[in-house]
């Protein structure tokens, strides 16, 4: 029995279906070709200026030398990066490397050179630096004065920095508030220190700035200890200790433990105070000075 011949419309449908199948088979190949062509035709990334790449490399080496405690070499690298940035009038790089060089001088005990470096940067009005970088330079100056024990000058420069770093969007806002809290503590104004440390903590938590969060907590605890509220100092210290342990910062772990010992001693827990002080001494014994 012969099968019935397909009608013209059936033939068209089958033919169309077979063409569709062929297109589907070709589709991956076509997509691959299109992808390769699109990739080849896509604009290459903006080539980085070779001089800036070199400056970035020196900057990175400077940071590595600084972490190793080799301040002389770090200064050399930062000076070279600065020279390149100056030769290309790269104002952002000039600011970054000047501030870093000042820090390297400070760590090497060359405070006058650190001041000179920052003064040169802050005096170069022709650079038209971004306000945030000027704020960073002023903050570095304030930290430098604080390191020298010139607290009035430190406060003055902190205020100047804050003038350009008022909103929470400023990267140094939390650090600045912490510094102001520390200066308030140095003036024995524990109330102001507590308020400023609280503001700093809020800003730092927003920015998830781990080290500065721990600093804010430690400052709060120190303010509480000043106010003889020893029990209230323990909670922030617990959190600060946990954070510092997570970040692996031996010097701050030691500070946290020492403050915990102080808080416990103030609260009359002599045994616990002794335990924390022993732990602080143990950490101090094991860590190297650079840490």
């Amino acid at each position: 029995m012969r099968a019935a011949a397909p009608s013209a419309s059936e033939v068209r449908i089958r033919s169309g279906a077979s063409h569709a199948g062929g297109v589907l088979r070709l589709l991956p190949l076509m997509l691959l070709c299109a992808l390769i062509l699109a990739a080849c035709a896509s604009a290459p990334p903006e080539p980085q200026n070779a001089r800036l790449a070199q400056a970035a490399d020196y900057n990175r080496r400077g940071e590595a030398a600084l972490k190793q405690g080799d301040y002389g070499r770090a200064q050399g690298f930062y000076r070279e990066a600065l020279r390149i940035d100056l030769s290309t009038e790269h104002s952002e790089g000039i600011a970054i490397n000047s501030i870093n060089l000042a820090r390297a001088h400070q760590l090497a005990g060359e405070r006058s050179l650190a001041h000179q470096t920052l003064d040169s940067l802050l005096g170069a009005s022709a650079l038209h630096l971004a306000p945030e970088l000027v704020a960073a330079a002023r903050l570095r100056k304030a930290l430098l004065y604080q390191d020298e024990g010139k607290l009035a000058d430190a406060g003055d420069w902190a205020e100047r920095s804050e003038a350009l770093c008022k909103d929470a969007g400023c990267a140094w806002r939390g650090t600045l508030l912490n510094l102001r809290a520390r200066l308030a503590l140095a003036r024995a104004d524990a109330g102001a220190a507590l308020v400023l440390a609280g503001q700093a903590l809020a800003v730092n938590r927003t920015r998830a700035a781990g080290e500065e969060i721990a600093n804010s907590l430690r400052l709060q605890a120190e303010a509480r200890i000043h106010q003889q509220q020893f029990a209230a100092a323990l909670a922030p210290l617990d959190e600060a200790l946990a954070l510092d342990k997570r970040l692996g910062l031996p010097e701050r772990i030691e500070a946290d433990l020492a403050l915990m010992g102080e808080a416990h001693a103030g609260a009359g827990n002599a045994e616990q105070a002794r335990e924390f002080r022993l732990r602080a001494a143990s950490v101090s014994k094991q860590r190297v000075p650079a840490e």
């Binding site: 063409h19 297109v23 062509l37 980085q48 970054i96 930290l143 500070a255």
Partner: protein, 322 residues
């Protein structure tokens, strides 16, 4: 049977157009890349002739004031034994090169890669044209410096040997002087003995004083005897010492010759090894650099940025605690 095949044709036509467009785009891309690599840049050929091809190779850089302006395209040996070097210079740089400019074979640093450095000529001379020939000079390299050093040390060693031989000669003035001193010392001993006898036989009134003088003179005589003995010993030992010094100097000269030989061998090998190492490192850097710029690697590589050391409110406090 009525079969409509127009969709199949349409599909073929579409695929054909697609493939054609892709091919055209690919050709345009290749053309663009070739243009960017300077394949269509206009160049000028320049030549120079050298006595030897040592240190020269195809592809080496041609530089002007430290900038790469072209490359060596061909190094060939002429029938007369000289070496013909063909350079290709970008037309953008030919206005720096005058007809009396000189090509010099030098190195980038003491152990850097060899390059051809174009030294500018007089300002009034005409600019070079295609197929012009430049004068050539070879700069002094590490081998030449080492040879100069050896040439300077050699006469010094010869002088030292001559001085030693002069001292060792038994007829020279120095030796004669030592012998005369020896003889004079012996005569002095005899004189002292005579004085001693004379004093012993002198007036008894100055007995005590004479005895003291005698003792003193006796001591002087003893000392002079010792001096004489010492000089005699010296006279015996000096030739041996001089012989030893001479041998030592000969050994030193032989050692210097060995050092020169080693230096000569090193000079041939070490710079080559260092050059190869540097070239390999540069190649690797170029390959990595190229790979970083190529798709898709470039999408995964972020360019380095200068970063600020974090400002830390705790840092100064910690310094105070310390």
């Amino acid at each position: 049977m009525d079969v409509d095949i127009s969709p199949q044709r349409k599909l073929r036509r579409s695929v054909l157009w697609f493939a054609l467009t892709a091919l055209l785009l690919l050709l345009a891309l290749i053309g663009g890349l070739a243009w960017k690599q300077g394949a269509f840049a206009k160049t000028t050929q320049l030549y120079f002739f050298a006595k030897t091809a040592y240190g020269m190779s195809k592809g080496m850089a041609v530089k002007f004031s430290g900038f790469r302006i072209g490359s060596v395209e061909e190094v060939s040996l002429e029938p007369n034994g000289s070496v013909k070097v063909r350079m290709v210079i970008g037309n953008a740089y030919t206005h720096f090169i005058s007809k009396d400019s000189k090509a010099r074979l030098g190195k980038e640093g003491l152990i850097g890669a060899s390059i051809i450095e174009i030294e500018p000529g007089e300002s009034g001379a005409r600019q070079v044209a295609d197929n012009d020939v430049l004068a050539f000079a070879r700069l002094r390299d590490f081998n030449d410096l080492a040879q100069d050093l050896v040439n300077q040390i050699q006469p010094i060693l010869t002088d030292v040997k001559m001085i030693t031989e002069f001292i060792n000669d038994p007829d020279n003035d120095l030796r004669q002087t030592i012998k005369n001193v020896n003889r004079a010392s012996a005569a002095l001993v005899e004189t002292t003995q005579e004085i001693r006898h004379l004093v012993q036989s002198s007036d008894q009134r100055v007995g005590a004083v004479s005895a003291q003088v005698g003792t003193l003179l006796q001591h002087a005589g003893e000392r002079l005897d010792q001096v004489g003995a010492s000089l005699k010993t010296l006279d015996e030992k000096v030739p041996g010492l001089m012989l030893k010094a001479d041998k030592t100097l000969e050994n030193l000269q032989a050692a210097t010759a060995n050092v020169k030989k080693i230096t000569d061998e090193s000079v041939e090998q070490v710079p080559g090894i260092l050059r190869d190492g540097k070239a390999a490192a540069e190649d690797a850097r170029e390959i990595v650099g190229g790979a970083k710029k190529a798709w898709p690697v470039r999408n995964f590589v972020t360019p380095q940025q200068e970063t600020l050391i974090p400002l830390d409110s705790h840092e100064s406090g910690s310094a105070q605690r310390k």
